[in-house]
Structures are given as structure tokens and as C-alpha cells.
Amino acid sequence: MKRRQFNQALAAAGALTALSPFNIVRAQSRTLKVGVLLPRSGVQAGIGQDCHRAVQVAGGILGDLGLPALDIMNGDTESNVDVARSRAERLIAEGAQLLVGAFDSGQTTAIAQVAEQRGIPLVINIAAAPPITEQGYKFVFRNFPTAPMILGDAFANQLEVFSAAGAAPKTVVFMHVNDTFGVAMQKGFTGVMSKFTMPYKVVDTIAYDPAARDLSVEVAKAKASGAQALVLVSRLNDAMLITRELVKQRWSPMAVLSMGPGWYEDQYLKTLGKLGDGPMSFVPWYDPNKKLAKRLEAAHAKAFPDINLNTNHIYTFEALLVAADAFKRAGSADPKALADAIRATDIKDNVSTGPGIQFNAKGQNDKLKNSAIQNRGGKLVVVAPKGASNAKPELPMRPYDKR
């Protein structure tokens, strides 16, 4: 009886020692071990797998730029916060020297805490909840705009679009999905809007359940408000649902202005065909005139010919870019050196819109700019800001029944 337990305990101890950090003594290597955490299964699988595409393309480009190679370790957070945390711990135990991830704000926060506790830098690719960089972390960096930043640029770009197109709505109805991102945007909306002189006023605000299977009631309410244009924060499924309702309820707003994902995604364009043209999205995007952007576009098109380059790819790629660049400057994989190097990042030749990648004292890149894109002919064109665009905006939107 006792011996059995003893043997079991011994075996357990042995296994534990084998897995503990004592064994992981590595000489400085030329590659950086990067743990990439994404929700590749579970509810957010679509986005996680999309981000993953950038991971697959990054290696070649980074190599061409003369940056050191990254040894990528993939972790699936399964869209679950418990798993996110244990995966992060697992990757660190396996030797990850830097982490990238994780799209979902809740999971990213869990991972951020692990990163901070273990002193391993985390470069957040996508996660918009402002509090993450307000916690005073020293090892967490976010190269993605916060909701207030997205909002501010949205208004600025809208003004630019209105003046370029020579038309502007006088009244709008604001619809938003009732989840973390949607509510953050809605909260900031009126506050940020007051800093700009917008030609329109909001006549109604409609929130809807993210798990909604049917949005006919919401769209009917929006139509009934009599507004000229629709301003939204939604996700992919809602975007498709809403468009269908717009067609079925025979309402063609003057403009559809989206400040979130969905309306520009491949699935949207493919499913709706010519009914998908017209909406404008004011989102973090890439600058089509930048050298590196063109390179990423080309590599991406080669690897995934049916898929447009989008926010998920761009920012995941940039997170890896930051990692490789910091590693080169730090000259070592020591986490503290890496963190310091990341903090000193100054990459002007990047992909996303704006002056480049730099981090402020809180670890946030507050210089990022957001663009305005429009669906045209089943593809996407960038209509604002000037200098980072490649087409003129079309406003008002062609009515649905005339397509």
C-alpha cells in the first residue's frame, strides 16, 4: 500500500522535475522563441485562424528585411480564459522568450498577468479594451489602437470623406453590438464626437445582443428613426444580417459608416456580392503606399489568393515585426533586455497607417492612425486619410434596389 503511493509520488516528482525550468538552460541562440497565442478553436475561431495566416507569411518577409529569424510556438487559447492562461504558462515553460496575442481582451488580460509575473514581454496584436495598458505593466506592449483612438480618427476621416465626396448626412442612427468592443465604442462616441464639428446629429442609439440570430426588429427601429445614414459598430455576422434586413426592409441609407469589423471582411463581400458594395469602414488598416505594406500584400496574395489583407493580418504581422526588430537591437534574448528594446522601438517602415511603431511609457502605441476603407466591386479601397489612400470615396451609396 505505502510502496505504491511512494512509487507514484516518485514518478510524479520525476515528471515534474523534467518539466521544470531547471532543465531549460540555453546558450544564446540566433533565433527568438516567440509564443503566439490565438483563439483558433471555440467561438472566436474564425478570427484566430485569420490572424494565424499572418504568422505563416511573416517568416519570409522578416528574413528578407534582414531581421533575425523567429522560432514560432503556436498556442490555441480555445476562446477560453482558463486555457489562455495555462497555454501562456506552458509556452513560457517550453522556453518562449516573448509572447504575442491574443485578440480577446479577457484572454489577453490573463496572458498579460502571466507575462508580467514571469517577466516575459508580451506584444499584443489585437485587443481594444483600454484598461489593459492602464494597469502599470512593465512587460506588456500594445501595438493596436484603443477604442478612443479608433473613434477619434473615425470622425476625422469622416469629415475628410464628406468634403471629398461633397455630401454629408444630417442625421444618423447609431447601432452597436452589446459586447466589450461595441460598448467601449458607444461610451466614447458622444465624448469624442464633441471634439469635432460633425455635420450630423445622432437621432437614436440601438444596442443589440451579440448572439442575436435575427436583427429585423433592430433594423426596423433604425429605419423608423428617419435617419439618413447608419453608423455602426458590429461584427461579421451582424453586418451580414443587417445588410440583408436593409435590403428586405427596403431601406437604402445615404451611407453606412462602420467603426468596427465585419463590413469589409471576405465573408461579407463574398456572400453579399454586389449588395455588399458601398459601406465605409473606419478601422485600423494598412497604408497601401508604404513599401512594407506592398510587400506584405504581395506575399499574402501569393499564399492566400482569395483572401484580402485585413486588420487581423496587418497587426499580427506587426507584432512579429516588433519582436524581431527588438531582438536584433537587444542582441540577446534576455527578457529584460528585450522589454527595454521594445520600449525603444522606432520603426518607420511599417505596414499600418501612421508615422510608425513607437511605444509610450504605458506600453501603448498612441501614434497609430486609422483609415477609412470602402467596399467597391467586391474589393476594398482606401479612401482616407489623404496620403495613405488610393481612391476617392463614393457618397451617397447606390440604393440596394438599383444594383
Binding site: 474564425g46 444596442a207 426596423a220 428586405k248 465573408q267
Partner: protein, 268 residues
């Protein structure tokens, strides 16, 4: 879809927690067949229902039959495991992105005075009524249907009389699954499918069935109607994002004050 659940629970007394997941299987099947054959989903309804019937029958015979007399939590676990497997196999095979089909009438609507009615939903609703009527006729008028009802009412008696209960249970589950299959085909005409939508539909089916009355077919229809109206009204009168709360509120009231549902019979 709720009809299927009602049939299954009413007769076999097994709570099918994999109901929604079975429906997504049907939806994916519709997607594949539509891509291959280009037939309207309402036409594909028949073969898909047939396929799901077989699936349900086999599932019942192989896995569920031994579980009939086991406590509820065991049955529940079994179906949760099945649901988990179904969802993830779909994820692996079809990927996580939403996929849909476009028919000629996907975006049509009818205008009746001030009301605008979605064409696709009207067709789907029509198909649903046809299926419901067929099911009703089956249970009322055919020998097989009556045998199944006998089983439900009195298990021991049915066995004494010589009915092959195991077979009938499997048949019933198959029928329930066929309903689910039909529902899946109809739903594809209206929405897109991703592997993750199954669980929400399972929950919805339960809400509808319990409100309307387990084991009662008109009840399931009534329940569906009631839940739809409640949610819509809730959405219009209060904030739309909370409209599901009203459906759940209704459910709680029903459970407390009339657990057999609005049109159900008190369990024997």
C-alpha cells in the same frame, strides 16, 4: 426544429442536448448538397431529413438506448459529449467562417400595405407548416404513429402488448432527427452557418418546447410563435439587446406556474 425536440422528449423522455448541433450538421449537409447539385434548400429538405433520420435512428440504437433508464445527468453527459464531438468535427472539416447559400429569393420581400415581409422566411415558414402537418398526420392516422404514442403514454403496457419498444424509440428519435434535418435545410435559406451556432439553438429549442408544452405538437408551434413575439415586443418596447431576457422570463413563469407548458398534458 422544436417539434423534433418535443417528439424526442415526449416519447423517449431523453433530453437531447445535442439538438442544436445536429441541426448544424443538417445545415452543413445542405450547404454541401446545394454546392454540388444547385437545388433549392426547400427541395433538399426531403433527402436531408432522410439522412438525419438514419443518423438519429442509429444514434438512438447505438448510444442512447442503454441510457434510457439511467439518471438524467448521465443522459445529459452523453449528449454533451456527442455535441462536443459534432461541433469540433464541423470546425475541422468546414472551418470557422460563416458560410451561406444564396437563392433567387434570398433578398426578396413582400409588401402588404405598411408591412414588409421577408420572402425567404415566408417560404421557410410554409415548409415548416407542411412538415408539422405531415408529422401530425403520421401520429394521428398511421399505425406506427399510434404505436409510438402508446409507448409514450404507457411504456410497460406497450411492451405487454408486444410492441418492440427499442425499435420504436429509435424510430422516434429518427423522426425527431428528421425534423431537425428539415429545419436545418429551411434555416439555410435564411441564415449562415458556423460550427458555433449549435448550442444557442439547443437552448432556443428547449425554451420553445417547454413553453409550448413537451410532448404536444401544436404546443411546440405555439411556443415558437410566442417566444418569437415576446422577443420582438421586448426588443421594440425596451432595449433590443435584452430581448432574450424576456424569452427566459417567460420560460421561468411557465416552469413555475404551468410546467407542462401551455398546451401540454400533465405527465402521467
Amino acid at each position: 426544429m422544436a417539434l423534433g425536440l418535443s417528439v424526442i422528449f415526449g416519447v423517449v423522455r431523453v433530453v437531447n442536448f445535442a439538438h442544436g448541433e445536429m441541426m448544424t450538421v443538417a445545415m452543413y449537409l445542405t450547404l454541401v448538397l446545394f454546392g454540388a447539385l444547385k437545388l433549392d434548400p426547400l427541395v433538399l429538405l426531403v433527402p436531408i431529413a432522410a439522412v438525419l433520420f438514419v443518423f438519429g435512428y442509429l444514434l438512438q440504437m447505438a448510444l442512447i438506448n442503454p441510457f434510457i433508464n439511467r439518471p438524467e445527468h448521465s443522459q445529459f453527459m452523453l449528449l454533451v459529449a456527442v455535441a462536443l464531438i459534432l461541433v469540433n468535427v464541423q470546425l475541422i472539416v468546414f472551418g470557422p467562417d460563416a458560410q451561406g447559400i444564396r437563392t433567387a429569393y434570398s433578398f426578396d420581400s413582400f409588401q402588404l400595405g405598411p408591412l414588409i415581409v421577408d420572402a425567404a422566411k415566408v417560404y421557410a415558414a410554409g415548409a415548416a407548416l407542411v412538415v408539422a402537418a405531415a408529422l401530425f398526420a403520421f401520429f394521428r392516422f398511421t399505425l406506427l404513429g399510434k404505436s409510438i404514442r402508446a409507448c409514450a403514454d404507457n411504456y410497460e403496457g406497450a411492451r405487454v402488448v408486444g410492441l418492440n419498444v427499442k425499435h420504436l424509440y429509435a424510430l422516434t428519435f429518427g423522426l425527431g432527427a428528421a425534423c431537425v434535418g428539415a429545419a436545418g435545410a429551411m434555416l439555410m435559406a435564411v441564415i449562415d452557418v458556423t460550427p458555433a451556432i449549435g448550442p444557442a439553438y439547443t437552448l432556443l429549442a428547449f425554451v420553445i418546447v417547454i413553453t409550448g408544452g413537451l410532448g404536444s405538437m401544436p404546443g411546440a408551434l405555439l411556443g415558437g410563435l410566442l417566444i418569437g413575439v415576446t422577443e420582438a415586443l421586448g426588443g421594440v418596447l425596451f432595449t433590443p439587446s435584452a430581448k432574450s431576457m424576456f424569452a427566459f422570463g417567460l420560460l421561468v413563469l411557465v416552469l413555475l406556474f404551468r410546467p407542462q407548458g401551455i398546451l401540454g398534458r400533465k405527465a402521467s
